[in-house]
Amino acid sequence: MSARDRTARSRPWLWLLAGLAAVAVSCRTPDSSDAASTIELARTLDGAELQPSAAAFSRTLVVLAGHDAVAIVAPAASRVTWPLRLPPHAWFAAQVGAIRNCADDTASVRFSVGISDDRTYEELWRAVVPASDPASPRWTPVGIDLGDYGGTKLSLFYQPARITWRLIANARPAPPSACVAQVLWAAPRVEAR
């Protein structure tokens, strides 16, 4: 068999591989274009649903690792719901803390973060965080991969880029103690990685 024959025979495979590569590149293109976007959730609080009431929420400046950051101050039992479209390879990050208003060392708060499309709610992260003294808040880092909820997926039916998600941040005092005054969501953001 001559070299030309071999080339001719393998050509359909080359074309197929080239086509698949082109499809793969075209699918990835929108991902890379949004790679730098970050949604600062503390700044978009006005567009969020706030429970028990908007008046109970405020923003404050805190220091995280030597840098100033905006934190959402919320009641101990509260919920923030951000409606948003997520970029490809999205990642939720924040630091959470709880402030107590009594001397009870056992006071703590159940934090959780979930996502919903108005039909199915998925809890993505949860933790019980001990409450700390107002003078020296202790921070617990939160990092959640939201990659399943943005970008283009290899699916006939699931196209998350077309869905306006509801990102839900919950807090409620953990029994038995209920002397938690406030919870803090510091520097909450959605990053495209």
Binding site: R119, T120, E122, D148, S155, L156, F157, Y158
Partner: protein, 396 residues
């Protein structure tokens, strides 16, 4: 592909009766089943008492079911059929009300086939859909009684015994009584095996593909033709891969669809899977506990269950027949049995009886080839002991 069972493999000493007797046996069994099912008919509610609607779920039913006359058990939570029939009323699961009507929406959503067939045969009318849903298992049982005759020769005592033991097994009777998925699933697997044995592998693949939509574990039916000994050349391997893709494609597409609704939740299995032997050992322990606490009835039921499954497992393991489709399916379901968790072993009768119906069928087909009469009847009795649980649910 060799066919396991049948007249050619009967014990040489087996005495044969006439085909007319075989027909009489078949008609008699059908009559018994129909009389048993007929007892659940009511002129107002039809056959809806076969579905197992429970009063405690009545507040969260889908709106389409509200106007449908149906029998609801007072003070009861009902059984799984009540969830599946509501999926039949919303076959693409578009209405969030369907989620509220389910105990575990992502889990139930995986098993849509009987919802679709009821919707189509009921012409989209809720009252008809519910009646069709209630009777699908009866139709499947009747069809299965015909298909199983391929392996069980009704002109011999052994064949009649194995045929009756399979058709009136505890698992199949529960499926008929409560309109569950397992009777139709066994029918589709039996059709797949029959097709594979006749070298109609593409039909077998389609049957398994459809069966996978009824219950995800039914894809184990692909073992009817997935045979490593047939991988003699690249063409044979590619052919089996093609068949496997065809068998898995319907479930994969449906999973893709319900993933768009329930996302990661569709992969939750709760405690249905556990470490090997955990469920079986737990049920074995209850024998001792029930016996010592004076609950002889419960102890007896647990004993029949454990003895039956241990006999089936040992028989499948001790009589390797890799060239036969039923043996390979039996091995697949035996492996699954070991991983089934405690919730599936609880209750009377437990769900494991239904889920493992293919193992029972494979076991009974394997028994056909046992030559020694004493061994045959001993294994037959032990392996089919769980049939004694059928009367618990009000079936023969």
């Amino acid at each position: 592909m060799p066919r396991d069972g049948g007249a050619a493999s009967e014990s040489p000493s087996a005495r044969r009766s006439s085909p007319r007797t075989a027909l009489a046996v078949h008609c008699g069994a059908v009559l018994v089943l129909l009389i048993s099912v007929g007892r659940y008919y009511d002129s107002r509610d039809g056959f809806t008492s076969l579905i197992g609607f429970g009063e405690k779920q009545a507040a969260s039913i889908v709106p389409a079911l509200d106007q449908v006359p149906r029998r609801v058990s007072n003070g009861s939570k009902g059984y799984d059929g009540q969830f599946y029939v509501q999926m039949a009323l919303d076959p693409l699961l578009r209405d969030p009300a369907t989620d509220r009507a389910m105990d575990n929406p992502p889990l139930r959503a995986r098993r849509i086939l009987l919802g679709w067939t009821a919707y189509v045969l009921g012409l989209g009318r809720p009252a008809w859909i519910v009646q069709v849903f209630a009777l699908q298992n009866v139709v499947a049982w009747l069809a299965l009684s015909v298909v199983l005759r391929r392996w069980f020769d009704l002109t011999t005592a052994r064949g009649v015994s194995l045929w009756l033991a399979t058709l009136f097994s505890g698992g199949l009777m529960v499926s008929v009584r409560l309109s569950l998925l397992d009777g139709p699933s066994l029918l589709l697997l039996a059709v797949a095996v029959a097709a594979a044995e006749s070298n109609r592998h593409w039909i077998a693949s389609v049957a398994v593909g459809i069966a996978g939509l009824a219950r995800e574990t039914n894809v184990l039916g692909a073992l009817a033709w997935v045979d490593p000994r047939a991988w003699s050349n690249r063409r044979a391997v590619l052919r089996q891969i093609g068949l496997l893709i065809l068998a898995l494609a319907p479930l994969a597409i449906w999973f893709d669809y319900i993933h768009s609704i329930y996302r990661s939740l569709i992969f939750t299995s709760g405690e249905t899977l556990a470490r090997p032997f955990a469920g079986l050992l737990w049920r074995a322990q209850t024998v001792v506990r029930d016996a010592t606490s004076g609950s002889a009835d419960h102890a007896l039921r647990s004993t029949t269950l454990v003895v039956a499954f241990v006999t089936q497992l040992v028989t499948v393991a001790a009589r390797p027949r890799p060239h036969t489709a039923w043996w390979r399916i039996g091995v697949g379901y035996a492996a699954l049995l070991l991983f089934l968790g405690r919730p599936l072993w609880e209750g009377t009768p437990p769900a494991v009886l239904r889920i493992e119906l293919p193992l029972l069928a494979a076991f009974n087909v394997l028994l056909v080839r046992i030559e020694d009469d004493r061994w045959f009847w001993l294994l037959f009795l032990c392996g089919n002991l769980a049939a004694l649980q059928a009367p618990v649910v009000g079936m023969p």
